[in-house]
Symmetry: C2
Subunit: 415 residues, 2 copies
Amino acid sequence: MTDLANSRSSLDDLTVDGERLWTTMHQLAEIGATPAGGVARVALTDADKAGRDQFVEWATELGCSIHIDRIGNLFARYEGTDPSRDPVVIGSHLDSQPTGGRYDGSYGVMVGLEIVRVLHGAGVRLAAPIEVVSWTDEEGARFPPAMLGSGVFAGEISLEAGLGSTAMDGTVLMDELVRIGYSGSEPAGSRTIGHYLEPHIEQGPILEAGGHVIGIVTGVQGIRWYDVAITGKESHAGTTPMDRRSDAMLSAARIVDGVDRIARTHGPDARATVGVLEALPGSRNTVCGSVRMTVDLRHPDPEVLAAMDAEFTAMAAALDPTPTIDNIWYSPPIVFDADIVAALRRGAHAVGHDPVDITSGAGHDACYISRVAPTGMVFIPCADGLSHNEAEAIERDHAIAGAEVTLRAVIELGA
Amino acid sequence: MTDLANSRSSLDDLTVDGERLWTTMHQLAEIGATPAGGVARVALTDADKAGRDQFVEWATELGCSIHIDRIGNLFARYEGTDPSRDPVVIGSHLDSQPTGGRYDGSYGVMVGLEIVRVLHGAGVRLAAPIEVVSWTDEEGARFPPAMLGSGVFAGEISLEAGLGSTAMDGTVLMDELVRIGYSGSEPAGSRTIGHYLEPHIEQGPILEAGGHVIGIVTGVQGIRWYDVAITGKESHAGTTPMDRRSDAMLSAARIVDGVDRIARTHGPDARATVGVLEALPGSRNTVCGSVRMTVDLRHPDPEVLAAMDAEFTAMAAALDPTPTIDNIWYSPPIVFDADIVAALRRGAHAVGHDPVDITSGAGHDACYISRVAPTGMVFIPCADGLSHNEAEAIERDHAIAGAEVTLRAVIELGA
């Protein structure tokens, strides 16, 4: 080790090896590769084990120590020079959807690896240790719920519930964790995190549409999920005059249109979606007697989301037939750490990008970790906003830019 | 026979025996009676045979001759005094839905029977013969399509298609017709009909709601059926901004709302119904990618129905995502015979009722028969507009009033 650790000017000269990052990402993508160009590396399968093993091999080559907790979260620690400092943690997840893309999750872990490679290659240690993390079972595709490993780490999901999660075929998570050799001894959540940075592909179309390379994620949308039931009265489509109908389909349609309008009046960050609508009896010449439907409302500002909730409820109450509304889930908005957001912004400007603030519409491990540590995320564009799809694609320059921004923030936070 | 046949004043004194009509209807309803108070007398089952046999027995007691055509339509003929006159035909159908009511169809046949009983009991013959008809398989519940027997009679359905109609279990109509002994030798449609009168329960709520006892049916709605397909783009409910969505559910909702509005702007006789709406992929947090739905538009005036069609098509074409619309069926409006309508109106006033003009929203055997003979219908109220339901109910006084009105018209037309 040299004394570069204390030389900011020398640290400022460090840069990502773009070719190495790009190559490494695609080497990883060969593990569980699908014929259609995607990845099938579902949590705790043999492919997940192979991905973890590859990561451990690469990290070990850099002198990292490997730490595994009881839910299988995997940390590669590159020591700092100051034993009193908490680590700067970089990462995401190595598991994928059953027909997933090559970058969802793995991008964040590979950026973390690349940053350690940069430091290691330059013979540099920061004051703070650097840890690269892969959280267990972010996708929840085999073992629900999603973000299971980070949820257990943050104490939001009990260890028992996490280990007991059961796949459709009856397989239990703990058994698979033991089977693939990633059942660690460290209590989940016992590690202290100084700062947590998660680079990720956007999984949405906003950056690409705006021509932005770097999105600084200021927070995560709050979400309200509703189950809506409407009971009208089945009647003959020919003999029942319009003013004597109780048409469940009509109230349902007005909810679809109404929540769309509510979202549009609350600006670009608001979302409203009716994804499920089931109408009975489903006969062409019978007025619809009942509808079951869902409503999904989102906004990053809790007050705006509350206003959307109130407007939806009032709108629905005025309908005839009147819906019954059950707000089955509320996930409060998350605001990321201001210091980390500022560090990422400065990092972006330092490497010549004009970043745009963005709110995450999807859940990430960073959501849970934000409850126990200062947290931030950086997004890069993905083609056509497509993710959870084998056709998921990103541009090489964007991948490198996201790593550069993260490197700058890590140096600022860890120096 | 007396000379009453030529005495209008004596004919004017004839009245229905209300108690006899009511009792006879409920005797018939015991054939195929269900525990819930309805009737299961599905076409060409043993119960249908038993109903036909009972009708034949009653008609034969009145000196009627029985005539059966090749599709099983059943005519009971009470001769007139003038061999040159075509018959006044009264009737409907004796078959029912699988869980049908006691009056749908059978009311019209029993009114016809009661009128012959009145004439026979008074020792009277009109100039014209009277025929009471039960058309085969009006419901189409077992052997599609509906109104099969009258459709074959009118030449709108070929005899081959009618006889070849096949039930879900593979049974063929002709085999069942032979089995129950109602495969006649008379060519279907070979009988001449001078006037056709069909008394029926309304099967809708209009008469009851308006406090009317007698509805004079001036015609039958025209119907347009559409299949609508909408293709949007599946996307993430959290990450996809409102202005970057292609939401099939939203276009579907606007069609539901739009056709409802179109019907309401075209007055009390217009109908618009979306009975089927199937949305995919049916995921709570995914913007809807595709919808299949139906639209049913109805109006008794062909020009108004054409205007509704044009407004619907234009409205849909302006939506984004834009639906594909397939107008799969058009049943033109039917206008009933003006002389019969007038005779029924006079009949209603003669027996002390203030009749209301009404359009039929449902199909009836009278629709097909109107293409080959002067045709009219009289409606009586049914409780809550309910039909095709074991709970179908009518009031005794209304049943008698409908028979009185029909009797008056029959005397006017047949004297």
